[in-house]
């Protein structure tokens, strides 16, 4: 049989018009930072500088919080829910209208494949605003009493793995419930958040309702610790989440944290293997494994272990790694040099501790940050690669004999964000689901997200839920 090659199929960059530099979005307008500091955001696939972005200092954060407070008191909290809803519907529609532009920009700045930004991230962003728009005038039906009140000003800090989607998860419910926000995007992926600021302008959202301050950890700290905010919402690492919980310990701020994970993806012997393989691959290689709920621990029942590993390796050899803007790309770039270093370090530890490392033959581009899909077998529960979140395309495989043993191993983690169960037996799915200490359990599927479906973790994966009726609680005074 002839071997067919893929021709390059890049999505055009022309749809995106980048500015050379971006200011801070405060009180409805872009403006410079007080101390004039800036940083550059690059494409992780090529290391090309995309734009210069303002680094917000404490004085800028203070201005943003003041603007948000003013908008909360004079504008947003005075609007009936039915009118707030219309702004959110407008935003949802503009996101739909500018979907392709946002997808290309997200892939440029983040390194994720265009197939994912186009088919997953951006449609979910629009859906999230659409869903929460509908709640704005129905909060009395959400189960929090006859007239639930907003909290006030929310300080929100989001990660780089799903930049615009995490923004939507934060801003949509906050605004629907009547709060105003100051949001800090991650320093490596600020561009779609800044474009979102333009979308707020197009939607005629009243000034100050949404403020975007760019910067790194120090900016985030200034925001979280600002005495003028009533609510902290953070998605990111467990380490930073712990710091935030400590920093807010003696304040009245309501805190929700969506942190790390080390999800078990559990394959029983009666599972449909081909379907399970797709789920395993999607579970850990979706978004280069930069997913807090990634199925990074594969637990396979011993009786099907050889078959599952062989199928998995066969499937991984077909994954295409490369240009994130190529429509055929499955695995894009690692988001940053720092993240690549962390993935490399933990992978080396995995080998040193005695696990067997395997990757499919895979040519890595010369420029940019890349790591091949990697599978470790012979992993035991004490290995660091079985305990720590790698946040990269690295899968650790363990085995089990009985459902009880699978459960024991799955729950043997300080994390508890998500889990996967693969079996044809419905009663076993529900037995496992009832006992897994995880906030989301996917059965015969993985990494599925929907604005109606609450998401969030047990244990050190954080507290609070995002999405669904339950997610509203994070932004209401209940």
């Amino acid at each position: 049989m002839p071997k067919f090659e893929y021709a390059p199929a890049p999505e055009s960059r022309a749809i995106v018009s980048l500015r050379e530099s971006y200011g801070l979005f405060i009180d409805g307008e872009f403006g410079p930072g007080v101390d004039g500091r800036a940083f550059k955001t690059i494409s992780p696939a090529t290391e090309e500088v995309l734009a210069e972005v303002t680094e917000a200092g404490p004085a800028d954060v203070d201005r943003a919080v003041t603007a948000a407070r003013k908008a909360y008191e004079h504008t947003w909290s005075q609007l009936p829910g039915r009118e707030r809803a219309k702004y959110l519907f407008r935003i949802a529609r503009i996101v739909q209208e500018r979907a392709r532009e946002l997808a290309v920009l997200e892939s440029l700045d983040n390194g994720k494949p265009i197939r994912e930004s186009r088919d997953v991230d951006i449609p979910l962003v629009a859906a999230h605003f659409f869903y929460h728009a509908g709640w704005a005038d129905k909060l009395e039906y959400a189960g929090y009493g006859p007239a639930p009140r907003p909290l006030g000003v929310a300080g929100q800090v989001i990660p780089w793995n799903f930049p615009l989607l995490m923004l939507a998860w934060k801003i949509a419910p906050a605004l629907a419930c009547g709060n105003t926000v100051v949001l800090k995007p991650a320093e490596t992926t600020p561009l779609t958040a800044l474009t979102f600021a333009e979308i707020c302008q197009q939607a005629d959202l009243p000034p100050g309702v949404v403020n975007i301050v760019t910067g790194a950890g120090e900016t985030g700290r200034a925001l979280v610790e600002h005495p003028g905010i009533d609510k902290v919402a953070f998605t990111g690492s467990t380490e930073v989440g712990r710091e935030i919980a400590r920093a807010c310990a003696s304040s009245r701020k309501k805190v929700t944290l969506e942190l790390g994970g080390k999800a078990a993806n559990i394959v029983f012997e009666d599972a449909p293997v081909e379907q399970a393989i797709e789920g395993i691959v999607n579970g850990i290689f979706f978004n280069q494994g930069h997913v807090c709920c990634a199925g990074s621990r594969l637990l396979v029942q011993e009786s099907v272990y050889p078959e599952v590993i062989a199928s998995l390796q066969r499937r991984l050899a077909t994954l295409r790694l490369g240009d994130p803007l190529d429509k055929n790309t499955d695995v894009g770039a690692i988001n940053s040099a720092a993240q690549l270093a962390k993935i490399r370090e933990l992978s080396e530890v995995g080998e040193a501790e005695g696990a067997q490392r395997w990757s499919p033959p895979c040519e890595l581009p010369v420029k940019g940050f890349w790591f091949p899909p990697t599978v470790f077998t012979g992993v035991s529960q004490v290995h660091r690669i079985a305990r720590e979140e790698i946040f990269g395309p690295v899968l650790s495989v363990l085995t089990f004999r009985t459902p009880a043993e699978a459960l024991e191993k799955a729950n043997n983690s300080p994390y508890g964000l998500s889990a996967g169960v693969w079996t044809e037996k419905g009663s076993l799915i529900l037995w496992m689901a009832a006992r897994l200490r995880a906030g989301v359990v996917w059965a015969n599927t993985f990494n599925k997200f929907d604005p109606t479906s609450p998401f969030g973790g047990y244990k050190e994966s954080g507290y609070g839920r995002e999405g669904g009726r339950h997610g509203l609680e994070a932004y209401l005074d209940v």
Binding site: G134, D137, G426, R469
Partner: protein, 294 residues
């Protein structure tokens, strides 16, 4: 010699027809009736729907039920929102029609149209929230996973309010379709024209043909055929309180034959925030048991 520049322009009038299965037929009976404004001035000849038209409409609604009820709630929500978007763009037209029909002041008519647009938006938001407010996981005392979900009941016949030709019409149609039901709605007998114009909005706003079917005609003539139709699952008798004191009771009795879900007759103040009653009336609750165990 005529001066074409100064001659008064003669308006092009619209033919008001039925809306069945996404098309705009005249009544198969070939009949029409005179619709007047609130002072008795001629407005138009509306189609006078027959028994056959009513049955055709039910057939169209049944045919559309599978697709509409099977669409995702997100999709239905977006379609209803699209209706609001298009109605917003035709506010002036509808304000004029409502004004002519109901005898309101210009400002009152505009307020009615605005409220009608907002009502579509309000119901659009319910599409993907009904299951979250009306569904439940039930903690049964045993090793079972048990949950209940709302499902649309099927084809809903609606006798629209007689007095409120647009806002009232929207207020009884939207709650039926948002959850996946399809409807046959008999417009206000005296003021049917805004409803007919609304069907032109529906036809261009992604609402699949057959999901909403609009009839115009005599309430006392058409309503009994809908009430007794064995392929109609529910009926809103809202506008049936008018013609004769006995009609509503007779319709409810006819509806009992196949145990239609019945919303009782009676006009409401449609400017008030709606309650959930009309959405809930057309929902079935399905409970699923599944064992849990190794």
């Amino acid at each position: 010699m005529s001066d074409t520049a100064t001659a008064p322009r003669i308006a092009v009038r619209k033919t008001y027809k039925l809306y069945i299965g996404g098309a705009f037929p005249r009544s198969e009976s070939g009949r029409s009736y005179v619709v007047t404004d609130h002072k008795g001035g001629f407005l138009a000849n509306a189609a006078l729907a027959s028994r056959k038209d009513a049955r055709d409409a039910v057939t169209a609604a049944r045919k559309a039920f599978g697709g509409w009820s099977g669409a995702t709630a997100y999709n239905r929500g977006q379609v209803l929102y699209r209706v609001a978007e298009l109605l917003e763009g035709r506010r002036a037209q509808f304000a004029a029609e409502v004004r002519a029909a109901e005898g309101l002041s210009a400002r009152q008519a505009e307020a009615v149209v605005d409220a009608a647009v907002d009502r579509w938006v309000w119901y659009a938001g319910w599409a993907d929230k009904l299951a979250q407010v009306r569904g439940a996981a039930n903690p049964v005392a045993g090793p079972f996973f048990n949950f209940s979900l709302p499902e649309p009941t099927g084809v809903v016949a609606v006798i629209a309010p007689q007095a409120s030709s647009l806002l009232g019409f929207v207020s009884v149609v939207a709650p039926a379709v948002v959850s996946g039901n399809t409807v046959v709605v008999l417009a206000s007998e005296r003021c049917p024209l805004p409803a007919v114009s609304l069907s032109e909005v529906l036809a261009t706003s992604d609402v699949p043909g057959g999901v909403i079917n609009v009839l115009t005609g005599r309430t006392a003539e058409v309503a009994p055929w809908l009430a007794s139709h064995m392929d109609v699952n529910a009926i809103d008798l809202c506008g049936a309180s008018g013609p004769t004191p006995e009609l509503a009771g007779e319709l409810a009795a006819a509806a009992a034959e196949n145990l239609k879900r019945v919303v009782k007759a009676g006009e409401e103040d449609w400017t008030l925030a709606p309650r959930l009653n009309r959405m809930l009336a057309y929902l079935e609750t399905k409970t699923v048991w599944h064992p849990a165990g190794t």
